[in-house]
């Protein structure tokens, strides 16, 4: 027991040193990860409070947004969710199955991209905002750093949905994932499984760990809403 205490203490101190600010990553600094299987890619047991997570995907209709919402739903459990929708495309009713409570959600619909970035920073800087979801096409390193600092001030989670071509750009985000939808392999399942989708989620880079690992996750529609498909709960890293 003593040894485990020492290890826990040491790892805590390492984390403290690793953090840019003075804040240290204790358990209260983490938001639960809502997607079992994904924890293989994370350094800690959940999402950092006051950090950015980038979700990259190629094209539209990949399901990355739903996956990101479902994975980080604990972040806005008792606070506000801000969704920045510069395209005016988000369809609010469809977000309800992803644990989005419309009565605690604000939709911001700016007309120009600079306004979207400004709103994102303003929302991230505000305490009481649990998470901010935003499509970000272009992001300069300076702007990204500003967002990271804003998130550290506010303590919310910034969920940035980005195109796959952003994978080469520098980033201050805690994690950068690439989401690739996988076609349903089983033809028999395909006929009935109207409500299950699977993805390969690859960690491109993390602030505290190297990228390259990936997992396969699958969501299916159970009686109590979404759930992780059983056979994949114990999936092995695929890459």
């Amino acid at each position: 027991m003593v040894a485990s205490h020492i290890i826990a203490d040491l790892s805590q101190r390492i984390r403290t040193m690793e953090r840019t600010g003075q804040r240290c990553a204790t358990k209260s600094d983490l938001t639960a990860n809502g997607l079992p299987g994904l924890e293989r890619l994370l350094c800690e047991a959940g999402w950092p409070r006051g950090g950015l997570v980038e979700w990259l995907a190629e094209g539209r209709g990949t399901g990355s947004m739903g996956l990101a919402l479902w994975a980080s739903r604990a972040a806005w459990h008792d606070s506000l969710l801000v969704m920045i929708d510069s395209q005016r495309e988000l369809y609010a009713p469809a977000a309800i199955p992803f644990a989005v409570d419309l009565s605690k959600t604000v939709f911001i619909r700016p007309e120009r991209p600079p306004d979207a970035l400004w709103s994102l920073e303003q929302a991230l800087r505000t305490r009481g905002v649990g998470a901010v979801v935003c499509d970000v096409e272009q992001l300069s390193p300076q702007a990204c750093r500003r967002l990271q600092l804003a998130a550290e001030t506010g303590g919310g989670l910034g969920i940035l949905l980005r195109p796959a071509k952003a994978r080469g750009q520098p980033s201050f985000a805690e994690y950068r994932f690439l989401v690739q939808p996988l076609p349903q392999p089983d033809a028999r399942l395909a006929a009935v499984a109207g409500a299950s989708r699977r993805w390969r989620v690859e960690l491109l880079r993390g602030r505290k760990r190297f990228g390259g690992d990936s997992v396969i996750v699958e969501l299916s529609d159970g009686p109590n809403g979404l759930s992780l498909a059983a056979q994949l709960a114990s999936a092995t890293p695929a890459a």
Binding site: G63, A92, F107
Partner: protein, 585 residues
Amino acid sequence: MARMVCLWLPNWPLQRLRHERPELKTRPVVLFSNTGNRGPRVVAWSAAIKGSCVQNSKLAEVVSQVVPALCPPILNFERTTPHVLAIGMPLAEAEALLAGRDVPAHIEQHDPAADVAGLRELAHTCNVFSPLFGIEEASSPECVLLDVTGCEHLFGGEQNLVAALVNDFQQRGFQVRAALSPTIGAAWATAHYGSPTPCGSVDPRMRPNQPNHKGLGDANLEEMLAPLPVTALRLPRKIVETLHELGLHRISQLRALPRESLPSRFGPELLKRLDQAFGDAPELLVAERPAEPIAVTWVTDEPLTDRESLRFVCRELLDELMNQLKPRREGVRQLFCQVKGTAARPVELLVSLVSPCDIAKHLLELLGLQIDRADLPEGISFVRLEATRIESLATRQRDLFGLEANTDTHREVSSLLDRLSNRLGATAVVRAATVPDAQPELSVAHVPCNLIDSQASGAASAQWHSLCRQSSRHIPCAVATSQADGTWNVPATFRWQARPLRLFAPPQRIEATTAGPEGAPMHFRWERREHRVIRSWGPERIETGWWRDQSICRDYFRVETQTGHHLWLFRCFDQAAWFIHGAFD
């Protein structure tokens, strides 16, 4: 001699409620109060609850049995229509009596403070008739009082004045009775118990176009009040009951008794009211004061040329404005800023806030966001700031997204929403709610976060809450959704992947090849790329009724392309074409 008008709004709590929410006009309404220790009791109810006659109160019963003529005149109003309910009845009993009716009753808690505030607001609208107006002093006031001494010639006589007053209220949808008398007490009595004239006003002594008041002297007052019931004297119920037990029903009977004996028998209240009605004791009209506009102005001879100086001026003005507001413990909810230059029209900026604010810095920040974007005139020489809407800081407990009011978090969030709304525009910062509509693009409503008008925000927030209730996990029932095979399918549960997270507006037209005339798409071309469909779900037919301006008839398919992307396509029957409507992102 003074000339007083009493304007009675019978059953004011209900009138107020129905005026604020017109949709309740067609429904029976029951108001209850929880103040006693015997559980919720009915305080007021509306017409449209008709049935076997139960008298409103014991008092009315006594009066009607003994002297039927002394009942309040029939007003064609709710209080006197036959009812099944009674004031003071337990709410549960009322609910049981109302159960099983065609139109469900609207049951709401009585809000006395809102009634008084509403009446006060109404009194302010009377300032076109008289500069001195107020409301009656009672526990639950229902009357607006006006001192019209010397005002009648502006309306061509007293009768015309009262007629204009009544007409004004009736046009706004209120039911009123008005009376004009030398004293407040007499006016109150005649308004409540006098015989009505065709225009709704009551004044048996009034002669048209007779401006002098001598015709209505003390003798006439006596003659006018004598036949009225003792309840017309604004007495506590207990005294009235005692009087009835002694067989005293009319004011004339009271006048016949020796004056000195009244206080010892019935307490001082009776004599005071009697004297007030007959003008022997003074009664003050506590006049409402119109709220002074809270505004500050800055004028200079040397025009400003840059925005930075303007900001400085605004800061000074805001500090001054806040100093005016601070003693009142009030905050600004809406700020109006007018900037005049040398030549051009004045620039007008409007800052709206989510919750009242008394911090000059925050207001300056919001104003600055607008100043930065405004097209300011050259050479600014005049700046005026006016707090057009003020609200109390202490009492307002707004429930903002379930956050507890008056905490730091609450303040920060409301400040964020203020900043966003003022820079991006109110329509860009919205909450969403589902609407029961089959057409996907119409099934969501966006409500701005900072609605300013109290009535509008009340209505909108009621609408918002009702929308939220509908939207828990269920998609609203579709008007007409059927499977292509003809079986009706109401998508009761709003499941995952039933609707896409992104909906394109408008739907984008695509070229698609299908398996058959009614079949699913197999290939389609979108965004300059070929997509091959490997799986598809559907069709789900969404069809709206012919009564719509633009009815739709679409067969929706969710398709999975060879790259694993999920998209939402539909076949439009009107145009015989394929569209892509959304992406399951």
